[in-house]
Symmetry: C2
Subunit: 223 residues, 2 copies
Amino acid sequence: MMVRKSKGIGERHKKILDFIASYQREHKHPPSIREIGEHCDISSTSVVNYYLDQLEKEGLLERDRKISRGMRLIGDTNPLGDMLRVPVLGVIQAGEPILVPSESPFTPEDSVEIAMSMMPSKEKGKDLFALQVQGDSMIDAMINDGDIVILKPAQDARNGEMVAVWLTERNETTLKYFYKEKDGYRLQPANPAFKPIMIKKNETLDIKGKVVMVIRKMERMAA
Amino acid sequence: MMVRKSKGIGERHKKILDFIASYQREHKHPPSIREIGEHCDISSTSVVNYYLDQLEKEGLLERDRKISRGMRLIGDTNPLGDMLRVPVLGVIQAGEPILVPSESPFTPEDSVEIAMSMMPSKEKGKDLFALQVQGDSMIDAMINDGDIVILKPAQDARNGEMVAVWLTERNETTLKYFYKEKDGYRLQPANPAFKPIMIKKNETLDIKGKVVMVIRKMERMAA
DNA sequence: ATGATAATCGAACGCCTGTTCTGTGTCAAG
DNA sequence: CTTGACACAGAACAGGCGTTCGATTATCAT
């Protein structure tokens, strides 16, 4: 035999979940049991508690017993995921040196938010910074005008890492894969259509940071 | 004359902010006034309240009066930012049609988290999906092997939007800027080194979605 | 029908929590 | 020395909130 109704979650459960989500979006904190009851047409707090328990057993909700408004949705829109706020320090373009955090003169005007879960490996440090690419000069790195590159400050790099370097002798900023060779360094463009730059040992290679992530937003709504 | 100490925030304020942050990370919800007092060596709840008010005036904290544990840090790591969990439905490559949500056979194995604040315009819908690029076939769209493209399901597009299309006659999936012309459509690669594809009116143009964002993680640590 | 289980209600209990008020000591300015 | 802003303590208050419990109704298998 099988259970009559509710072989999992019913309409009532969904309504509660939706309410918690929308309430949280509006108030920045979870609702109380009574608030849930009011907006979901449940007159008794015990019934709400009843449903909340079920939702928890179902793995859709997490509760902190005894704590006021101690609940949070899991999965779905995660209202509690840790995210990193990365400051956008300025722009990066071929012709000019880039700004690194220590050289940044004033507070960054803008910032981007990245979910911690998206961060590679151990780059969870808070010293990351971002730059917006200006112009098409990074095409050889497969990076467009307007893209946002997220960097981790560094003075050196290991083979295969993409770095932001300032080539003093050439007065040029560039993003390339870094490789140490016998008599210098090889800077390999991400785009195979471009040739690597060979750096002799005597040339200065000023590594500013490692590229951790590239983000391209497609919002341009051309006419 | 100037105030004797605390010309802004002092050591005590920082300690409180730090505690709120660490408490939140551990308990998934903010601490109560009394809990703050205990861990910051403040014996009176009114004093904690006193400091909290100052922090709010300073713009470092936001409070929901009357609500238990109604406070949240602003700036810094935002523990309450809304984020979108976008399912990664599979891979996208030139030779094969892509999966759209309605055709997806099973639950996506993985997902990516994007901060709502990063989403362009009104694409806050929950029907977004993501695909991982396989191979170098999207080079003309300035997209690398391994990149993640986030798409919004769509059957049509406006000029200038980047779309994912399935070219039935050519058995090919591609990402291009969409332009409607007199006698058909023009599919413009993002990389200016590549030429546009002209689609005659009689050819079928199967738009699968609009590209909302592209994410490239640089985690490859070559030997 | 009937008994078991699920769903719901209403009320009361009691802790938790933010708020408020009074009082105290400190320190710089007048 | 007096004044007053500031930092802090302590206690009391009142309301919010989760919890619990007894009781009632609905639903379905037998």
